[in-house]
Symmetry: C2
Subunit: 407 residues, 2 copies
């Protein structure tokens, strides 16, 4: 009589294996006893899963069992270490002006980062795939990592992406389904797609100021406003990926459109110049309003320039309305402002905290992201790692070397 096992039974093993990997990631060297405490499983189970994870290439067992002399009595514990370099993932951010790729190891440590500006819109699918290919190849080379070691690639795009990873309403130039297929077929990589603001939310919860926060809004607030929303720790997508779209702001009093902080800083700064006011901005941009950047306006405000400060004041009012409206409907614990302007926007926080309660009965905590420009590609790394960890028994370093051996 042959075998036959319920898929539901095998699922238990998958769940426990994922839990073990998650417990080990970032924990350094661990013993069976520690894992028992972390997972609630029995020693027999923990050890058997460890043995399997070693076989699959996820873990390495250390030879020198007695470690840094932290304990001495009894039989020495077997010591396992998560093998950070067993495989790698790639996170890619396809922004409006540039494309960024990060190669990271299994601990999520970035090994290399490559950024390349865009040349044109509306290039054919194959060329788009080529761009993605070449930047990925460059990042891999820079990281000193083989393309065969890549277990998953996550790509962030500035367009709605459905829960299933499909871009159904291809805004601007990026119609990604083809690309996904092409890249996947070329390298055998698993390619995931996700909205850029959603990835920023994952990044912020992973390494930013939203650690442990389950109800979170992250606003990408550079030139345009976009938002990624986590509810009970889950990303929201809606029917075709539009959850978090902010177009309704067009009709909100005192907001009127979805332009972001950088856009309005520049616009209002130029208005101040045009008004003929006496302001430091004139010096900063060399007298040419077209040369004025958001950065200059922030700097002027910081240095006490009245025109700059007035811009900041208007900005805080405007953003308070934006955050107030979304917080009413979504009721997050925390709203994080992210993107290229996040760092400069930190000075806006006190004023925003003051005004947001005028627009919602459930004011959230406010923060700015410290993750900088790479937040989306970092979120893509987390997204890819999540996928790999969930599928660790099917998608693993050992399966890679088998492929290599077979190919």
């Amino acid at each position: 009589m042959q075998t036959g096992t319920a898929p539901s039974t095998q699922l238990v093993r998958r769940v426990n294996a994922s839990a073990m990997l998650k417990a080990m990631r970032g924990a350094g060297i661990v013993t069976g006893t520690e894992l028992m405490a972390a997972t609630g499983l029995s020693r027999a189970t923990v050890i058997s899963i460890c043995d399997e994870l070693v076989r699959l290439g996820w873990l390495q067992e250390l030879e020198n069992q007695r470690g840094a002399g932290d304990y001495v009595k009894g039989r020495p514990a077997r010591r396992f270490i998560f093998d950070d370099s067993a495989a790698s993932v790639i996170g890619i951010d396809i922004g409006a002006n540039k494309i960024t790729a990060i190669v990271a190891d299994m601990a999520g440590r970035p090994l290399s980062q490559v950024t390349r500006p865009f040349r044109a819109y509306n290039v054919p699918a194959k060329e788009r795939a080529d761009v993605l290919d070449s930047i990925a190849a460059e990042a891999l080379e820079k990281a000193g990592v083989s393309a065969d070691s890549v277990l998953a690639v996550s790509v962030g795009v500035a367009a709605p992406v459905s829960r299933g990873g499909e871009v159904l309403r291809a805004q601007e130039f990026w119609k990604s389904f083809d690309v996904r297929k092409i890249v996947s077929e070329r390298h055998g990589w698993h390619v995931l797609l996700e909205n850029d603001a959603n990835l920023a939310a994952l990044a912020e919860r992973w390494q930013g100021s939203a650690q442990g926060v389950d109800n979170l809004v992250v606003m990408l607030a550079g030139d345009r406003l976009g938002s990624g929303i986590l509810e009970s720790g889950r990303l929201l997508h809606g029917q075709v990926g539009g959850f978090g779209e902010l177009g309704y702001l067009d009709n909100v009093d005192g907001v009127g459109d979805t332009y972001g902080i950088a856009h309005y800083a520049t616009l209002w700064g130029r208005e101040a110049l045009d008004s003929g006011a006496d302001t430091k901005l004139r010096g900063l941009c060399g007298g040419d309003p077209e040369a004025l950047t958001a950065e200059m306006v922030f700097r002027a405000a910081k240095e006490g320039d009245p025109a700059g400060r007035k811009v900041m004041d208007r900005m805080a009012h405007r953003m308070a309305r934006v955050i107030g409206s979304i917080s009413t409907l979504v009721n997050p614990e925390l709203v994080v402002i992210a993107g290229a302007v996040a760092d400069s926007a930190r000075t806006l926080i006190p004023a925003m905290e003051k005004h947001v309660p005028d627009f919602t009965f459930t004011p959230p905590r406010l923060a700015t992201s410290a993750l900088g420009d790479g937040i989306v590609s970092l979120g893509a790394i987390r997204h890819a790692l999540d996928y790999v960890e969930e599928n660790a028994l099917d998608l693993n370093p050992a399966s890679l070397s088998k492929q290599i051996a077979a190919g």
Copy 2:
């Protein structure tokens, strides 16, 4: 050596048992073979779970195996039937003006419905519990069902309720945590709390026009606007239950507040009267603007009265803005207008369908609820049934009779 089984292993049985119950609910008489097809489980498993469910009082096995002559060959199948009357649940809607209770059997069939108007606000917790008790008792008596057969009670309130079932920001008069505890202790019932609009969303997906819809917004649109949101089939709550709050509409152009359809129908109808226009409304309300109701305005519009039609036109524009804004952010497949005015609001649909695309790039389908005034208590029934089905192995008819025998 004694036993010891992983909780994760037992979980498989629970999941399969729930799946079996869900497959049987509403299916009438079923055989093992049919259940194999419905659940994907093997015959041995299906039969063993059936035997267990019979033991727990969920199912009954029929004696006369050969049914209505639909087939004849082979060994007669054992035939099981879900015992609708094995236990019951109560769904309660605590509205602004009245409280409604429905007692239903395990098939979700309402056995009785009782409505009672409110007398006062701000009654002490014990009295509130007494009101709930007495209306529940009345509904049980009317249904001819014993209080001992109740497996769960779900209560809908017009206030934010967190995922854990706690009312953290007790709007108006209902601070329900006490009540939950009191009722639970008096009868040993499991008492669940949920927001009324969320329950309406469950009802609409269960028996309304949203069957099979996973991304859904249901708007309670009577005197005040409220919304319940399902994303990927899950109710959204946010940090303290505020997800779906519409207070941001205060600042949306052409909306300005959260008053509902009934409110504005009455208000605008009175404006028409005050303007001295020649309108049927004057006859309908007997010349007294204070006596004018939303219902009269709808009727006048239906009969072609110009003033009434003008109100409908304004209403469609206003609601298009409301639905457009929420649809932009939430991206539902379908928006259902529910509550007491739903039936009258059906005539608004074509105009709203025309205008909604002006306010969102992702216009949803629109519908009005046919579930009438009882939509919240019906949703509470579904909520309670969901809870019972998820916990069918722990919370079951046999455990009830055991309690009775022990007590």
